[in-house]
């Protein structure tokens, strides 16, 4: 009996730990790229509501000062990531409740919808892992719908686009069927989100940190490779080599450019410090 693995396909996506790894990538994307992208944004309109919402303890100081402009992601990110990366269910639940309360107060908060959707995708993965495919599917569909709602409410917001695109690409990296219409549609959506972010940040892109630029560009490489668009994937690889010279990103891009065919590119987040 041959143990399961592809002879010549994606070959690093078989275990729960690998799934966590790729979700970590998604989280890294979200944390870093959102962080960089939001640096140039106007303060979140959530600031006014944050004073009365129950907030994670470590954020309460900044959140409750009267005229503070607190981005929504800063209020929930640490707790969500504590749940994602360290299995801290209590903090994850706290972040989920906080987001739910925020949406009850402001149903048009696109940021909150994207985080809410992402959280439900995470819960869907846990349901599938427990063998409950029905629950997994329900939470999966719910999560996707919530993220779409966030983008529909804030279509010009880089943060919500990345907040949807990053988890989708991360999850796709753990398994992808190019012949499946839903798979292609989700990756197409994620690639469009990243293209939006790239275009929107064009004036300031060169000023962003190397990690943020590298991960965004590699996200596009990975996404286009999954869609079979070798030309676009190579275009972004060449861009990485040009714009991030003498970096681990450029080294990785160079070695990929030498491959023919390119195949599906699975990039592992470089330099992320997951506490």
């Amino acid at each position: 009996m041959r143990p399961s693995s592809p002879r010549n396909l994606m070959n690093s996506t078989r275990t729960g730990r690998t799934a966590v790894f790729f979700c970590a990538i998604a989280g890294c994307f979200a944390a870093v790229v959102i962080g960089s992208a939001l640096a140039a944004r106007q303060p979140s309109v959530f600031a006014a509501q944050s004073q009365s919402a129950s907030v994670p303890a470590q954020q309460s100081q900044s959140a409750t000062s009267p005229n503070s402009a607190v981005r929504f992601d800063m209020l929930v990110r640490d707790d969500f990531f504590a749940g994602l990366f360290h299995g801290d269910k209590a903090r994850f639940a706290r972040a989920l409740k906080f987001t739910e309360d925020a949406l009850a107060k402001d149903p048009k908060n696109g940021d909150a919808w994207v985080w809410f959707g992402s959280a439900h995708l995470q819960l869907s993965g846990e349901a599938y892992s427990a063998g409950d495919s029905a629950k997994g599917k329900e939470l999966w569909d719910r999560g996707l719908a919530e993220m779409d709602k966030g983008v529909a409410l804030n279509p010009d917001d880089v943060g919500v686009h990345i907040g949807r695109g990053a988890p989708l690409l991360g999850i796709a990296s753990s398994g992808y069927d190019p012949n499946d219409a839903e798979s292609r549609a989700l990756v197409t959506k994620a690639v469009a989100d990243y293209e939006f972010a790239l275009a929107k940040q064009a004036p300031v892109f060169k000023t962003l940190g190397r990690h943020a630029r590298g991960e965004l560009l590699f996200g596009l490489v990975s996404g286009y490779s999954m869609l079979g668009n070798d030309a676009k994937a190579r275009e972004y690889l060449r861009r990485i080599v040009t714009e991030l010279p003498k970096s681990p990103y450029a080294t990785e891009a160079d070695s990929l450019l030498a491959k023919n065919p390119l195949g599906i590119v699975q990039h592992q987040c470089i330099g992320c410090h997951v506490d």
């Binding site: 009996m1 041959r2 143990p3 399961s4 693995s5 592809p6 002879r7 010549n8 396909l9 994606m10 070959n11 690093s12 996506t13 078989r14 275990t15 729960g16 730990r17 690998t18 799934a19 966590v20 790894f21 790729f22 979700c23 869907s124 993965g125 599938y128 892992s129 427990a130 063998g131 997994g136 999850i171 796709a172 753990s174 398994g175 992808y176 069927d177 012949n179 499946d180 839903e182 798979s183 989700l186 592992q268």
Partner: protein, 247 residues
């Protein structure tokens, strides 16, 4: 008469308590399964499809643990043949059907190491072929394989499958080529001339090649071919390693 009654009862008790025969023994003892395994070796999709249809008919007649396990095993072999033909659609179909059958076998006999092994192994086959496969099924695949080993520490197939998990998982998340090699060597030691050992040698060749241990890789792939010269998967890996390519 009383003596012979108790003797019979004792014999019955003894037989009931006897461990299930190893899957490998079942395959050897069953000509149709032996033929199906030969079909796996030669990547013969058509012959495997016939065997699978027969297995499905057996289930229609009797939805027993043995029949579900048989079907899961055949779908697992079909996965290997699908790889040989680079047929990802067939691979996805076989792995999904195999998971379904293995789950039913495990539901009927929760303490079956082979049922859990096949569930874990087939989930592993499914993972790369569905959106977010690792995200959805990765943890469960590993858990099923660990349970298979716990239920039967002599289940060489479960060691082989679990080893591949360690091989493919990034080191920062617990993956380990060293651990993969250890588990594969354990599988070989459990039954050196078995089909599981053959598979273990194929995988050990790949682990060594990935570590730059080319001579060790050549040795392992040669041993895999010696155990089963008909197996196309072993031939493929041997060719890849001989050409210096990473399989």
């Amino acid at each position: 008469m009383r003596t012979s009654f108790f003797a019979i009862l004792g014999l019955f008790a003894l037989l009931s308590a006897a461990p299930q025969p190893a899957l490998s023994q079942c395959i050897t003892a069953d000509p149709s399964l032996a033929r199906a395994r030969a079909a796996r070796d030669s990547d013969d999709i058509s012959a495997l499809q016939t065997a699978i249809q027969d297995a499905q008919a057996k289930i229609s007649a009797s939805a027993s643990y043995e029949n579900y396990l048989r079907l899961a095993l055949l779908e697992d072999w079909m996965c290997e043949a699908a790889h040989g033909h680079d047929d990802s659609k067939l691979l996805k179909k076989a792995s999904q059907a195999g998971v379904d059958a293995a789950e039913k076998a495990a539901a009927l006999k929760p303490d079956s190491s082979d049922a859990h092994w096949l569930t874990g192994d087939l989930l592993g086959e499914l993972i790369p072929n569905v959106f977010g496969g690792g995200f959805r099924y990765g943890a469960r695949s590993s858990r099923e394989l660990d349970q298979a080993i716990q239920l039967d520490p002599r289940n060489a197939n479960a060691f082989v499958s679990r080893a591949t998990s360690y091989f493919f998982t990034p080191a920062m998340f617990g993956g380990s080529k060293e651990k993969a090699a250890e588990m594969l060597q354990k599988a070989i030691a459990l039954d050196p001339s078995s089909d599981a050992a053959d598979t273990a040698h194929i995988w050990l060749a790949q682990v060594y090649q990935s570590q730059g241990k080319h001579d060790d890789a050549v040795r392992e792939s040669a041993e895999a071919l010696r155990l089963n010269p008909q197996r196309r998967y072993a031939q493929y890996i041997s060719q890849q390693i001989a050409s210096g390519k990473k399989p």
